[in-house]
């Protein structure tokens, strides 16, 4: 009996502590992740706040953080700024009526009959009253200066055309790498991986020469930004190949017995099973085109009407180096990639996976 009871009670107790530990652990873990995400993403709320803040507010060191405007009081047909005025009866919210250096006249909005009140002291040291008032003026100014619809249209055209090219060629090449026994293919694949690591600087000058008036005369057109993608992209080929290899060969062989040629197998066997990875690759390429600034600055510098969005906004913003203008530009450039990412998170988060690193 004695042996029977004690362990069982002990087990109950330990189960309770375990569950308690379990619960605490889960809570701690989730709390930690929550706090981490808040800290990690904290600049983003500031971006939104700053973009809604009027410019004057940044000049006043005593201004609140949130977008707001000065409280004004209309007296005798004119808007007068309300200040926090320290008096014998505590801080009063008075509107400045007649400023002067050593003493100024104020109006008490709650007690108009008293008329102007003389206050001894420097009004410039007073804190102004603010009320919460977000403004869209920054966006209006921004869109008035930058031709965002034009740049957006340019970027989307370039993205779509080069997307078609890069998908066709990369899928074909990845298929070639994953399904055919070619002598020396090991070394060709190694070459492909090596090209990923070549810094873009090293090929910049000769390719510029290739596109310049000496040879192809493509400067000032979209061709230097589009045509290279029709030869495939090494990173995308790598990702696609990894995925194609994981599709069992039995399916190919069954299709081959039915008389399907290599192209037929690619289209009706491989591709239907690779829709997620193809989507991932298409998105990666879209982000690449969207973020592209170097080539567009180099090749489109002489034709501003063809300019792409990232570089155009970047160049535009260097003239308006105020916090709110910067944040508006940042928002305009990042909002579409972020929306695309969230719409496609199911594909994207699963297939940017490189499980097997081969050597």
């Amino acid at each position: 009996m004695r042996f029977n009871r004690k362990p069982s009670r002990g087990r109950d107790a330990s189960r309770l502590t375990l569950r308690l530990w379990d619960f605490t652990g889960t809570a701690m873990l989730n709390l930690f992740m929550f706090l981490f995400l808040i800290a990690y993403l904290s600049p983003l709320p500031f971006m939104v706040i700053a973009s809604l803040t009027p410019h004057d507010q940044f000049l006043d060191p005593n201004a609140p953080i949130l977008p707001s405007k000065r409280v004004k009081f209309n007296y005798e047909g004119k808007d007068r700024i309300v200040y926090q005025v320290p008096t014998d009866q505590g801080i009063k919210h008075w509107a400045l009526y007649k400023p002067s250096r050593q003493s100024s006249q104020f109006i008490d909005p709650e007690n108009l009959q008293a008329g102007p009140i003389l206050w001894q002291g420097q009004w410039r040291t007073l804190k102004a009253d603010y009320e919460f008032a977000p403004t869209l003026d920054n966006f209006k100014d921004f869109f008035a200066i930058a031709q965002i619809p034009l740049y957006l249209k340019n970027t989307i055209i370039v993205a779509l055309i080069s997307e078609i090219g890069v998908l066709f060629s990369s899928i074909a090449v990845a298929y070639g790498f994953s399904r055919f026994r070619i002598p020396g293919i090991k070394y060709i694949f190694f070459l492909l991986i090596a090209t990923i690591m070549i810094p873009s600087n090293i090929t910049l000058v000769p390719t510029y020469f290739l596109y310049s008036g000496h040879m192809l005369n493509w400067i000032g057109t979209w061709l230097p930004l589009i045509v290279p993608h029709f030869f495939g992209s090494a990173v995308l080929i790598f990702l696609l190949r990894q995925n194609f290899k994981s599709i069992p060969r039995d399916l190919d062989e069954a299709a081959m017995l039915d008389g399907a040629g290599p192209l037929r197998i690619l289209i009706s066997v491989i591709l239907p099973q690779s829709i997620p990875v193809v989507t991932t690759v298409a998105l990666l390429h879209f982000f690449y085109i969207w973020n592209e600034t170097r080539l567009s600055s180099l090749y489109l510098g002489i034709s501003p009407h063809l300019q792409m969005i990232s570089f155009a906004v970047q160049r535009n913003q260097t003239y308006f180096f105020t916090p709110e203008a910067l944040m508006v530009g940042a928002m305009v450039v990042m909002v579409i990639p972020v929306i695309v990412l969230f719409l496609s998170q199911r594909f994207f988060m699963q297939d940017m996976i490189i499980t097997q690193i081969e050597k």
Partner: protein, 307 residues
């Protein structure tokens, strides 16, 4: 006689009867051809041309005065203190940011493998999101946030205001952990549970399991992330390219080459510098691959005869 004639006839109809393997190789090469053409025209020839260019004193504004100067540009590099310090800067950039990025990515990935965490997919997307924000936006967000950081953190704590770009580097690094985090996380997810169970039965605690099972099992992913970061530190981009911030790149050597190229228009020297960077990078990569044999776990499967 008949049989011989028939075979001769066949030879005439099909002069070169390819074996199945040869035919397969031909079709395969046909599929590879877009990349091979692109490689020759857009990579191999330009790299060669850059090498030839690096042996001359080609200036963008005076192309007719170009002379062959042999290894002069390379010798100039050894006398150019600024170039040396920038190359060193790129190296230390790699050495500073990579540990930070790897540790944060590892810890986050380890936390995410726990099933107790809620909303994992959404949180992952949030963490990944910062890595697709264009460099333009990051730069603006950083500069614009300085004011708020000053107002909320630095002034109340009586710290001096932030100077210039001091915090941009760690900020950028933390906001680029997306791909590394995802690669490491998916590697951790693919480690089989049985190994953990076996270790647990043998009495290994969570920490021991992480160090002796998780880390060795995901070493290929860590290795791949290292190579990605190495490439990134020297101005290449793998997986996610977020663009550049005007002529300002986070990789010091790259900005210096850009400066030589566009401000001083000394293309010969710029090409030489790019080649030197490339050489340093390749030797580091080869070193990494050599060392990989010691610490990276390669599963012994049917992948032996592949790269």
């Amino acid at each position: 006689m008949d049989a011989v004639n028939e075979s001769k006839l066949l030879m005439k109809i099909r002069p070169k009867k390819l074996t199945r393997l040869q035919q397969e190789a031909r079709i395969g090469l046909l599929f590879l051809s877009p990349w091979i053409i692109g490689f020759v025209v857009l990579k191999a020839l330009p790299i060669l041309a850059a090498f030839i260019l690096s042996l001359t004193d080609f200036h963008m504004l005076t192309p007719e005065a170009t002379k062959f100067i042999g290894l002069g540009n390379y010798l100039h590099f050894f006398r150019d203190a600024e170039a040396g310090s920038n190359l060193f800067g790129s190296l230390s950039y790699f050495l500073l940011t990579v540990p930070l990025e790897m540790i944060v990515a590892l810890v986050l990935a380890a936390l995410f493998t726990s099933e107790r965490l809620k909303n994992r997919r959404f949180s992952q997307t949030l963490i990944f999101m910062t890595s697709i924000i264009p460099a333009t936006s990051i730069f603006f967000i950083f500069l614009g946030s300085l004011q708020y950081a000053d107002q909320l953190i630095f002034r109340p704590l009586n710290l001096p205001p932030i100077q210039g770009f001091g915090l941009l580097l760690p900020f950028m690094t933390l906001w680029s952990i997306g791909p590394g985090f995802l690669i490491i996380y998916s590697a951790m997810e693919s480690v089989s549970r049985e190994i953990y169970e076996a270790a647990r039965v043998d009495g290994a605690g969570p920490f021991a399991r992480f160090v002796f099972i998780t880390l060795p099992m995901i070493s290929p992913a860590i290795f791949f992330t290292l190579v990605i970061n190495l490439t990134g530190a020297f101005g290449g981009a793998v997986l996610l390219d977020r663009g550049y911030i005007l002529n300002f790149s986070l990789s010091p050597m790259e900005s210096y080459i850009n400066n030589v190229m566009f401000q001083q228009t000394d293309l010969g020297y710029a090409s030489a510098l790019a080649w030197i960077t490339f050489a340093v990078m390749i030797s580091l990569t080869i070193f990494l691959f050599r060392s990989a044999k010691r610490w990276v776990y390669f599963p012994e499967e049917d992948e032996v005869n592949e790269i």
